[in-house]
């Protein structure tokens, strides 16, 4: 084949690649655009803070205040459980590892935990937190369920962040008589902290948007007030989208409402992602 022909082949190949890629990217972009356009129409201050109500035809009125509060509460509480355990587990995998298969098995189990379908987590949460521990259908049960989802994400980022810390800092602290945990927590962890932070934000973005794990562990479609205690059922943004789209009588009105919620949810998650990008560029500059 002549040089010209080969270059032509490359051109055609790359051109068709580009067309397909731009098509996919366009599809993804249009999802953002659709949510923005459809959601902006419903969005106002009242929508964000007031309580939801339904009229006799099943049309949704009011706002999503309790759902925003509920999502914040389960996510926050879930992190309270997941962050300490996840970080310590990541530290264990990175600092306490020794040769031998057992650590590879442990690591693989973390990856597997990350791959467990979220609806299975929901079943587990129902069986253990709601029924066995008698926490009932509540913010607490849902938060605990979500914390199990967040756990592997936090463990994996912590392990990688700790491993990236140069070894000579560990040697320096050991040479001063530091014990393993002192070296890990006082020297290595502070260096890895900002990278670990990105993992924590990633985990919160993930659990804030989950529906299946809270579906039968505590979320409810309608609550006449803001949540006040962790043993109550709660409204949540993702669950509300699902509920409005599948149980409503007046589809077109609830669709608009659902887009408003989707816009709020996506904005929240996008903000978290932007925080991650900023954190990352900062750590890059420092090292």
């Amino acid at each position: 084949m002549s040089f010209k022909k080969r270059m032509l082949k490359q051109r055609i190949a790359f051109l068709s690649l580009s067309i397909v890629s731009i098509g996919i990217l366009f599809a993804i972009g249009s999802i953002f655009a659709l949510i923005l356009v459809n959601g902006l129409g419903v969005l106002n201050w009242n929508f964000l803070i007031s309580i939801t109500s339904f009229d006799f035809k099943g049309v949704t009125h009011g706002g999503i205040g309790p759902a925003i509060a509920g999502t914040f509460m389960v996510t926050g509480l879930g992190l309270v459980f997941a962050v300490p355990v996840g970080i310590l587990a990541g530290i264990y995998l990175s600092e306490y590892r020794s040769k031998g298969k057992i650590f590879n098995v442990l690591r693989m189990m973390v990856a597997n935990l990350a791959g467990v379908p979220s609806v299975v987590h929901g079943l587990f949460g129902l069986a253990v937190f709601a029924v066995l521990f008698k926490f009932g259908l509540s913010i607490l049960s849902s938060a605990l369920t979500l914390s199990i989802l967040a756990l592997p994400i936090i463990i994996m980022t912590t392990e990688n962040a700790m491993r990236d810390v140069p070894n000579d800092l560990r040697e320096a602290s050991y040479s001063l008589g530091a014990k393993k945990w002192q070296s890990a927590l006082l020297v290595v962890f502070p260096v890895a902290a900002s990278k670990i932070m990105t993992g924590v934000i990633l985990a919160s973005a993930r659990i804030a948007g989950e529906t299946a794990p809270i579906l039968f562990t505590g979320a409810t479609l309608y609550l006449a007030h803001y949540p006040t205690a962790i043993n109550q059922q709660f409204m949540a943004l993702p669950y509300m989208i699902y509920g409005l789209m599948t149980t409503s009588i007046n589809i077109s009105a609830s669709t608009n409402f659902a887009y408003g919620i989707a816009l709020v949810l996506i904005t929240l998650i996008a903000l978290m992602n932007i925080a991650i990008v900023i954190f990352r560029s900062k750590t890059r500059k420092n090292s």
Binding site: S175, L176, Q182
Partner: protein
């Protein structure tokens, strides 16, 4: 001659590979002993064995003993944190913590439970003075140590090691990563502190050994070829191997 460390028949292995072969000699107290030898002769492994930095490698194993204060520091009964408190170490590359100068120096004290602010402040001053760094940094103790120059960082590492009042200080080629001027300053520091502390320094630089060492041990292929007063080794070595090395036959 006071003896500080007694090495008895020390052999070190990494997996199947033997790195050190039946080393025996006695390190005199409050003096500078330099360990010289071509790269790969095991000199670095030797000092890292003394404060048990090699313990964390899974395939590390040893025979023989190192007697310090009448006890074998290599035995598992000897608490390794206590050992490292008494035998400090400075590494090849300066490795300050990414913390303030102050926090670097007090780190050792803090992990050993010292909380008294007054003691901490005093130790920072005296340790930095010993490392002749105090005058340069006294007004910016809260500055991040990473902002110091390479030579200053290494002197900070010396100050950090001195802060917990070790009886022995091990230095593993401490000047190989810094410039000549900073090297000179560090050598002066070492000569100064050797009046109170036993110093064991690994160096690949014969001139450096000649400048500061009271005693020299020459290692070759994992074996101790010769150990004696510095002048003796440098001027009239017993072994031909030592002579060959000193005259630059190999390096």
């Amino acid at each position: 001659m006071d003896v500080d460390l007694k090495i008895e028949n020390l052999s070190v292995y990494f997996g199947q590979k033997q790195i050190l072969d039946s080393i025996s000699f006695e390190i005199p107290a409050r003096s500078i002993t330099a360990i010289i030898g071509p790269s790969g002769c095991g000199k670095s492994t030797f000092v890292r064995t003394i404060n048990r930095m090699n313990d964390r490698f899974d395939d590390f194993s040893h025979k023989g003993s190192i007697i310090f204060d009448g006890k074998d520091v290599l035995s598992n009964d000897y608490p390794v944190e206590e050992l490292r408190k008494k035998i400090g170490m400075v590494f090849q590359k300066p490795n300050p913590f990414p913390k303030s100068i102050y926090e670097n120096v007090v780190f050792g004290l803090k992990i050993h439970g010292v909380k008294d602010r007054k003691i901490l402040d005093e130790t920072v001053k005296s340790s930095l003075e010993s490392a002749s760094l105090y005058d340069q940094v006294k007004d910016r103790l809260s500055m991040n140590a990473y902002k110091l120059s390479g030579g200053q960082q290494q002197r900070l590492c010396i100050a950090r090691a001195l802060a917990i009042k070790p009886e022995i200080l091990l230095l593993d080629e401490p000047t190989s990563a810094i410039d000549p001027l900073a090297t000179k300053q560090i050598e002066e520091v070492l000569e100064q502190i050797s009046k109170e502390i036993t110093i064991l320094i690994v160096t690949h630089n014969i001139q450096q050994a000649a400048r500061i060492a009271d005693y020299i041990a020459f290692f070759y292929m994992g074996k101790l070829v010769e150990f004696s007063k510095a002048e003796k080794i440098l001027n009239a070595p017993n072994e031909k191997l030592t002579d060959d090395y000193l005259t630059g036959m190999y390096g």
